[in-house]
Subunit: 315 residues, 2 copies
């Protein structure tokens, strides 16, 4: 669940974070997904919306890839909470020019990825609109001891990520710039994969977790703000694949900046005490300290970050 840069966003967030009244809500607005008690279980729910020309474009996404991205971005939110996805509802707002073949392709992508994780698509609706908007609601289950929010990071924890970053942003920029080649990098943008394969293992041990939907810097800032801590990110430890570096170079840019300030990689970033780190898959990219602010250490120099990727409104 993301709130993007919109005029007056702050007021909206303030408005929406009114205290919820129901005592069964464990995690409310502001995390990757909401968690509430239901009978003897904890249920985790997220709702992510993809808009044409913002999250995808029919100019360079196949219909199937649109479906893949819609499902994976929601699966990733469930992963980030330590949950297991169970049920999905789909909502399509469709312009007149969307034909049955396109919808068939989108369903192919949605079903490919929902099937991969045993998720049943149980409902939703279809309406007319002048813009193509796809919303997915994903409902899952989470064991109480696995619930992992943004707010549990503690000074001394290390910051880890589950895999290479920046490729999705590189892919997007290649598409927008009409650059040929770099097929593997482009696929990271059009066919992302969430990390449900490792999330439950991490969730039992990590003190805080998010998916990297808005760039590493932005996600670490969220963890720090929710946990009341500061963080140091080691620039040279951030995993970025050589092809991503190459692609960025061909665009006159730095691939590590894509990792820091780009987004939609759908890897997980988490904090964990150093003694428990070897139980969690991933590589260390920084550490949590007592204080505030997110700093970047680059060749011995430390800079306080004030630029945070997609999520600009605080800059």
């Amino acid at each position: 669940m993301r709130i993007r840069d919109i005029g007056g966003e702050f007021k909206l967030i303030e408005r929406v974070t009114r205290a919820v009244k129901n005592k069964n809500v464990i995690v409310g607005i502001g995390d990757d997904a909401a968690v509430f008690e239901f009978g003897n279980n904890n249920m985790v729910v997220t709702m992510d919306t993809l808009c044409e020309e913002d999250h995808f474009s029919r100019r360079y996404f196949t219909p199937k890839q649109i479906g893949i991205k819609a499902m994976e971005s929601n699966l990733s939110d469930i992963a980030a909470m330590g949950g297991r996805p169970l049920y999905a509802l789909l909502s399509f707002a469709l312009p007149q020019d969307v034909d049955v073949e396109t919808m068939d392709g989108i369903y192919d992508g949605l079903y490919e990825r929902s099937n991969r994780y045993g998720v049943d698509i149980i409902g939703g609706d279809t309406t007319h609109s002048s813009a193509m908007v796809i919303s997915v609601t994903l409902i899952g289950q989470v064991d109480k001891e696995k619930i992992t929010t943004r707010s549990g990071a503690r000074p001394g924890d290390i910051i880890r990520v589950t895999g290479p970053l920046g490729a999705s942003t590189a892919g997007l920029k290649l598409f927008v710039d009409n650059r040929p080649g770099f097929a593997a990098v482009k696929l990271k943008h059009t066919e992302p994969s969430c990390r449900l394969d490792v999330s439950e293992a991490i969730a039992g041990t990590a003190t805080a977790m998010e998916d990297v939907s808005d760039g590493l810097a932005s996600e670490v800032r969220n963890i720090c703000q929710s946990s009341g801590t500061g963080a140091m990110i080691y620039r040279d430890k951030i995993p970025v694949e050589p092809e991503t570096i190459e692609a960025a170079k061909s665009l006159g840019e730095d691939g590590v900046n894509y990792a820091l300030f780009g987004g939609e990689d759908f890897e997980l970033v988490y904090t964990v005490p150093p003694v428990s780190a070897d139980r969690c898959p991933g590589v260390t990219v920084g550490e949590i300290f007592s204080g505030s602010g997110v700093y970047l250490e680059d060749k011995g120099e430390r800079t306080r970050l004030s630029r945070f990727g997609w999520d600009h409104f605080n800059a």
Copy 2:
């Protein structure tokens, strides 16, 4: 949950109604909401999307009324299943011209109606789009013996509705035609109210139930198709308020046709054995018979209906 008239809709429906694999799904795609077992409880979930210029227009809806309609149309789906709503997630796709005051107004409407039923808003997201699209996911609980689908109607049951119909369509037509007056009728379009006040009482007794989101004829047809029955609707028993009849007359139309073929009244239509009817609030408008087809009895004459409101694709 509605599927509207879209080119090739049938194929989409076919596609989406693939058998779900999870044995805990009690009601899947095709009813007002989905129901699944979760631990010892039954959860009911719906997701309804409102698109500007299709479900609302900023030309004649206040922002608060947009919020009211978005929440009520989802509450109505939970009511139609015999459920109790608990949690809501909101998703906004917003064009550039939507300002903070507009969003504040929309939230006012959403909160007014969620508060009315003790529903907590626990999450969602906000994105950019060229068209305004609001999706609401509503999660609730339903007692097993209260789950009321479309498919339980039996020959001999009577058909009842919980209140007057047609006013929402009359209101819409007055707005579109720029007609002054008829304030109460217009309010039925811009500030609908679901029937959660009576739905649980009916759900214990009714054999089938739906909310009247697409006109009485269309809803009765859905019940008949799902139940494998036919139905007779008595035209002169359909409750339509005098103001609605007046408004329709001023537009050169028949208010009872609005009730039959209009939509978005958010009253409930249900079937019940005659002996149990007095336990359910409402008025009788027809009966279920063994066979197929939906017929209208008007002044002793019986016509098979082939026109079904918003939901044209079968006509």
